[in-house]
Amino acid sequence: MSFNLQKIRNDFPILSRKINGYPLVYLDNAATSQKPQQVIDCIVDYYSNYNANIHRGVHTLSQEATDAYEAARQKIQTHFNAKEAFEIIFTAGTTHGINLVASGFSEILKKGDEIIVSAMEHHSNIVPWQMLCEKTGAILKVIPMNEEGVLIISEYEKLLNIKTKLVFVNHVSNALGTINPIAEIIEKAHRVGAAVLVDGAQSCSHIKPDFQKLDVDFYVTSAHKMCGPTGVGILYMKEELGNKLPPYQGGGEMIAEVTFEKTTYAGLPHKFEAGTPNICGGIAFGAAIDYLNNIGFEAIEKHENELLKYATEKLLEIDGLKIYGTGPNKTSVVSFNIEGIHPYDIGTIVDKLGIAVRTGHHCAQPIMDFYKIPGTVRASFAFYNTLEEVDALVNAVKKAKMMLS
């Protein structure tokens, strides 16, 4: 399919809304993406025509729902090139996936073991590891970043040693947009026998990671940043690691056999999928992936890079504006401040002009501390945004600056 921006925009009903009398300019895609009609239809279709609990019933509806749910799992497997469909665990989202792995490792790690995180993690990828370290006596180490918001790989190499058991890093920083060199990070971790978990919450709407090629051990992401619904995501884990990791939650669905003396756990993926899952969410996640692939990630990347380049150039023309995250490899995220103006003030004014951006610390306070700022204004673009919307943002920021200085 060729990249027809107007046709794509017509797929998203919300994009025709007006906010405060202005056409909505939605530039908060790093928080969550909007949903195309195809995904909305899929959700309506599920509840209208084949809603049933899965993996249990012998009746037709249950079979249909199970087939659709498992078909979605396979679709996700194919999309990310996982070796097996059962290596894809459905979760409630990225944070759930991270906590599942952290919980499993709390029984594996010993005192003195080391785990490494990067300096540009989201709180959801810091807090679980701090809790894990408190519980196990393991030590948390941090890969520093430079002024450009790029991880310093030579420092990472120094942190790695035989005691390193786990490395956790985001594929793309939510606050800066930096794309981290995860292939290199994984390869170096494996040399000392450490496993790597990659947080892909910010990457999968922009790029298409290949799990086998990356040789990644764990990879987590959320559907809602990829045009799918909220409340569903995946945790990919290599089969041998999945077999080693103890289950996270007890309940139905995750067992092979239960007596009061002993319960035998089910195999992957069911071992980690206790209880009735978000069936509709899983199926709609599949529909979202179909939607994105139909447009094509090459086309998505090309258009988003164009938006990023244009937005960066235009914003930098504003006197006193500074962009945080200026590395060479970035997704379409521009995090910025204007000298002497609080990001919250800018966010408030541009919202009055119909433009949705995020302000604040973006759940990444260590990054804000690094730059010694209270927060930033973050504009994050998706493939359905236009160059005209970049202009609208730039004009709104100029207006805000005029009012606020």
Binding site: N20, I341, H342, Y344, D345, T348, I349, K352, T359, G360, P374, G375, M403, L404
Partner: protein, 141 residues
């Protein structure tokens, strides 16, 4: 002046403006007249939780009235707290406790009244009423 009279005055002032931009500009202007909190008091105890920007609020009793001083690192927020200080400062604790805040809707700042709004206007009002309650309880004892 009573709280109601000050609120009426504010409604009058804001009614002169035709659009949100003029209202915001005026609010920013009002922020400049905010009686500032003493720099030494700008500590965590005086910070109001629930704001994306920092808001410090102090209160003291003078001749039976509560005097508020405040500051913020964001200027729109500073304008909002300035409006509240103008309304509630130099008033009796009971009057502050009894006051309603419908005027905020009438001066066209309704959107800031949502409790989930990150500027914390609701938290500011709550904090002012908490101070009033504390002074009143102290006084009764």
């Amino acid at each position: 002046m009573t709280i109601e009279a000050i609120q009426e005055e504010l409604i009058d002032e804001f009614s002169m403006f035709e659009d949100w931009m003029q209202r915001y500009e005026y609010m920013i202007e009002l922020g400049k007249s905010l009686p500032l909190i003493d720099e030494n008091l700008k500590n965590d105890d005086k910070l109001i939780k629930g704001c994306q920007s920092k808001v410090w609020l102090n209160s003291e009793m003078k001749d039976g009235n509560i005097i508020f001083t405040a500051d913020s690192d964001a200027i729109i927020t500073k304008g909002i707290i300035a409006i509240l200080v103008r309304v509630f400062s130099n008033q009796k604790p009971q009057a502050i406790l009894d006051a309603n805040t419908n005027f905020i809707d009438e001066i066209g700042l309704k959107e800031h009244l949502s409790p989930t709004r990150a500027n914390g206007l609701v938290s500011m009002i709550k904090q002012m009423k908490m101070y009033a309650l504390a002074y009143q309880t102290q006084h009764k004892n």
